[in-house]
Symmetry: C2
Subunit: 661 residues, 2 copies
């Protein structure tokens, strides 16, 4: 335990580093780091087990700053703890190319576990970390059995629905290794939380089945005893309501909304430093005693890490097979010939692509132990249950199937946490229309470059009777707009296999599967067709008969069959029609220009067919092309009726092409 | 009070109508209507005040079936209660063009208050209704002072974060006129709620500040006494946990997950009818005694309605000015010359478009009493506070400013409720990147054709230091993909005025405002420019000098200044450049082809400039056009640095056009 004076010195260092950095950047959030400095000090000085020299050590505790706007708090702690984050990095807060962006970005800064800022997401990620740690320990034992997850959440994090969903799920699964500290400072951007937020958050977490404590967030003794009790509680996640004061220690800004999102200003900073007896002129100052305190902590941590390494070595020696499996798991390995293996296992019968994908997923699951996931209560419809695995419950976590409940947004956020933890390639499934419910998490998976699989079924108005509330129209394109997200809409079993192969090979980002509810026929491809061409995102499924094509029809998913029917009819008219299947436009766009031009020759008229909005298809068919799709909301009726009414029959498509070309 | 036998008969009628309709459609959800039949009977036979002859009567109680998949329950009640919904309509359940689509759609069926199905939304809408009723009563008094809101919610509704957000908000505002009945049937699609949902929902609602009761949902006496107590409770919203059994009354399907989403099958239906002593062969049967019961209820309701009319007449006579204001309010009237009035009030200084819009909104607020709304805790940043109005609190609801808290999704859902209630044109503001958090509600506003204003600021990477988590890239186009949503991105004060004019005139759908954080210069337009051309969505801001244009640059928002700078430089090169400003592509697309061709002449090369994804711009610039935008995530740095790094400077744009054309 440290004496009160050295604690105070360290806390003041955290506060002044934060306010100096915000001031220099002329933008940022100074109040929250000040209010949280006491808690952060205790966490990093006494509890958090980590290794600044080895930031990706699987056995470390995870710290999640869900209140990402308080990024300077985290950067201050990383700097003091000896991570590769210098005072110069802190001085470059919020500047181009720095390790200290406005909100914490795990892909920019070692020691940052996840990217936060969009509120509530960090809580979901933390639940994912806690779950991953439990699941890994249940499967492999020692490597992650001691991992704890610490999360700091703000009022905003708790107001967002995603954190409520995730917390209900965490209580359900009794994630006793999760500790969320609620920064109850009662201040938001618009003023006091009294304006909009007066619920009893602690009681709410009791309702979720959490262990709840209430403390003064500036009282070090209370902070320590609450964290001790939370760690001791093994069967419930812990929620610590810490009453804090924003901008604590700033004479005037203290407890004000202004201190939330604006620099304090030179005068207030000077007054703050004066109040603690510091030189008002000295900026970015780290007293030697504070450096020394964290150096001592680093020595303890290195000792703990070395002990872990020793245990890990012993565990490996005692469990050679398991250790081998663990390495495979951690590498997220998939067989190099996965696609070929999947092709051997292709379902023979005509089915919906959701069924094809579901059948292939069983094979992938056997080959790739990293694959885990579940559905937002639509497993029987989305066909994503891994049949040879059990379901995760509060009593047993060695299985691979998760039941997320009707909580799409938390599902996304939790899967991001699973992926970030290490070892997991998570999948999450729901109806395509409900991708909107989890879009912020999908975006973050793309930004963070995580290999998450978002499996969306019931992919067009052709799902039928459920009607326009359930019928996606704009969603496929809305997903295609997200940078670094691959979107794959397979047309049959073979393309479903390609979807899995692409997604499993794609380590630097997420993949969305777009799958039909309705049955689709197997595509008859040309004799010279090479199955590997599907992996290029778009390919010639049927070449024009007899001559060079004078028309190219590009289609995706269930509409490929319409393109093939149209080709047949139009060739009877004397046209020469090539059918291009384009399951993954992002992959195709990244292919060499020669290949792209070979598939879509310049100067040949193009048609696109996809049962969704048409506007963005112009980039693929050009100004003189023909786009066939649907630019309005759907309707409730059987799918065959909808196909007829909205022009998704062979006859309607043929008619449309004939009259337009 | 009705005797037990007639109650049982009516309940069985509700159940059998529902299962017969699902069976005939061969799709739908039979179990939930059966489980809820007792509660629905009590609500419609004793409590709900409404007028089947006048479904839009402002003084009616509102009933929201948040569990929209149980649509047949609602259709059964509407039929029995005498709405224009015949047995033939019920037989056409889930068929093309019927009044009985798969999920309730308020724009298809009289008596359906809102469109539900996407779970959780109905709870948010119900909170909006409750709030609207209180606000209207606070402003006008009598017309809505007795309105109660009844909502039935399922497990799925409660698991979704949006309902949690909305319920926390309802508790905060003490909406005592809201009664949510929770259909606690413990069954979801994947199986028992035990799989994923074991929190204490009642306790959670106590934490939100609600009045909570727990009952047997099949016991009529308990149902009535709980509703009585809920109505008597005036200072808190009420939550009734009704333990029910899904498919109650079906011998085998009872309490099974299968009964949730699949027809029961002929055998089970026959067994169900046999168990209640009904003829198994008779379908869609309404016993005369049940018809008579609801006819009697209709007489009571008519008497109540007449009494209300009398009170309303008296109120009008006693309050002629207020009654006049009420009519204006209900008509959602805005002055025909709103645009001209706004032009007179144009802010003179250069400001960010968020500031321009915020200043103009003050004027609109004065002219349009229907305008109410708020922000998800970003009012000081989004500039949407109505300065001459007070804030809504639990004690005082006559103001027009709402503090939604950091709850974007509920904000959207509640605003939909405000709009559906009647009289309100709601606005809701947050940062553009967080439009993702509320996208399901925005989609529903477009589907329901509600005049909601979604005000999004901080509209590009040029917001600066907050970094990629806060920088929209794909969002403007993602919104443009939603059918029936207008998206307006003004370039300066004048275009901000046009945005307000378009949005206020647009009665059949929502409008999204896309506004800059950073300051923008006033656009210098040609002398012959007509301000009314802005209302056409796109117009010639600066015509090519000297000759017909050989290049057309189309730009939106803050990038219009880059187009103007590029024109100047390129004309020095000898080019003839037209600058088209395109604040609203949806409006422009609906203009006559002659106008569109006049603005964007065929055969002239085009350039688009917008600080967002470029792909969909191809539909406006064609295959040979040039698109200038950003197709990756942004970064944390000051806006001037980002502009330089990502090519949003005049120099970079000029260079790009020069090298490409």
């Amino acid at each position: 335990m440290h004496d009160a004076k050295s604690v105070e010195l360290a806390v003041n260092t955290i506060k002044t580093l934060s306010i100096d950095a915000v001031e220099k950047a002329k933008s940022g959030h100074p109040g929250t780091p000040m209010g949280l400095a006491n808690i952060a000090f205790e966490l990093w000085a006494h509890y958090l087990r980590h290794d600044p020299q080895d930031p990706t050590w699987i056995g470390r505790d995870r710290f999640v700053l869900s209140a990402g706007h308080a990024s300077m708090l985290l950067y201050s702690m990383l700097h003091l703890s000896g991570y590769s984050l210098s005072l110069d990095d802190i001085k470059a807060f919020r500047q181009w190319g720095s390790k200290t962006p406005g909100h914490p970005e795990n892909f920019e800064t070692a020691g940052v576990e996840t990217t936060t800022g969009p509120l509530g997401q960090g809580v979901g990620n933390a639940v994912g970390f806690a779950l991953a740690s439990k699941m890994t320990a249940a499967r492999f034992g020692m490597p992650t059995e001691d991992v704890r997850i610490f999360c700091i959440a703000s009022d905003g994090d708790l107001m967002e629905g995603v954190s409520g969903e995730a917390s209900s799920f965490a209580g359900h699964l009794a994630l006793g290794n999760l500790i969320v500290i609620y920064d109850d400072n009662r201040i938001t951007i618009e003023g006091e939380t009294e304006l909009a937020y007066t619920e009893d958050a602690g009681l709410r977490y009791e309702a979720y089945g959490w262990h709840v404590q209430r403390i003064d967030g500036h009282d070090h003794k209370q902070i320590r005893s609450a964290i001790d009790a939370a760690i001791a509680e093994k069967t419930r996640p812990s929620f610590i309501v810490a009453r804090t004061h924003i901008a604590n220690g700033a004479p005037t800004a203290h407890d004000t909304a202004e201190s939330h999102g604006s620099p304090l200003g030179d005068n207030e900073i000077a007054a703050t430093k004066k109040a603690i007896g510091w030189d008002a002129e000295r900026k970015f100052f780290v007293p030697e005693a504070t450096s020394e305190l964290f150096r001592e902590r680093a020595v303890e941590l290195a000792r703990d890490k070395a002990a872990w390494e020793t245990r890990f070595q012993k565990w490996q020696s005692a469990n050679p097979k398991l250790a081998d499996d663990f390495r495979t798991f951690m590498a997220k390995s998939a067989p190099a010939d996965l696609y070929e293996q999947l092709i051997k296992a292709l379902p023979a019968k005509d089915e919906a692509t959701r069924s094809h994908s579901g059948a292939l997923q069983q094979v992938v699951g056997e080959l790739v132990p990293s694959l885990v996931g579940g559905s937002a209560d639509l497993g029987p419809s989305t066909k994503t249950l891994l049949k040879n695995s059990s379901s995760i419950t509060r009593h047993e976590q060695s299985g691979r199937n998760l039941h997320f409940g009707i909580r799409e947004h938390a599902m996304g956020s939790i899967c991001n946490g699973l992926s970030l933890f290490g070892g997991y390639i998570p999948f999450a499934s729901t109806f395509l229309v409900f991708s909107d419910y989890m879009r912020p998490a999908v975006r973050l998976s793309a930004l963070m470059r995580e290999q998450c699989l978002w499996i969306y079924t019931h992919d067009s108005i052709l799902l039928g009777e459920d009607g326009p509330t359930h019928q996606p129209v704009e969603h496929v394109w809305a997903l295609r707009l997200i940078p670094n997200l691959f979107v794959i809409r397979p047309a049959d079993a073979l393309e479903s296999a390609a979807a899995w192969a692409i997604a499993m090979a794609r380590k630097g980002g997420p993949t969305a599967f777009i799958l039909s509810r309705q049955k689709v026929p197997s595509v008859q491809r040309d004799a010279q067709f090479d199955p590997r061409s599907v992996l290029r995102g778009a390919y010639i499924a049927q070449e024009a008969a007899g001559a060079r094509p004078d028309l190219v029809i590009i289609a995706t998913g269930s509409e490929l069959q319409l393109a093939i029917a149209a080709k047949k009819a139009l060739e009877l008219d004397g046209r020469h029609v090539r059918v291009v299947s384009a399951p993954c436009l992002e992959q195709f766009a990244s292919e060499p220009i020669e290949y792209r031009n070979a598939v879509l020759p310049q100067g040949v008229r193009r048609v696109s067919i996809e049962a969704g909005v048409t506007g963005p298809w112009r980039q693929w068919v050009g100004e003189n092309g023909i786009t066939i799709g649907i630019d309005r909301f759907g309707a409730s009726a059987p799918d065959s009726v909808l196909a007829a009414k909205f022009g998704f029959t062979a006859e309607a498509v043929i008619q449309k092409i004939r009259s337009a070309s």
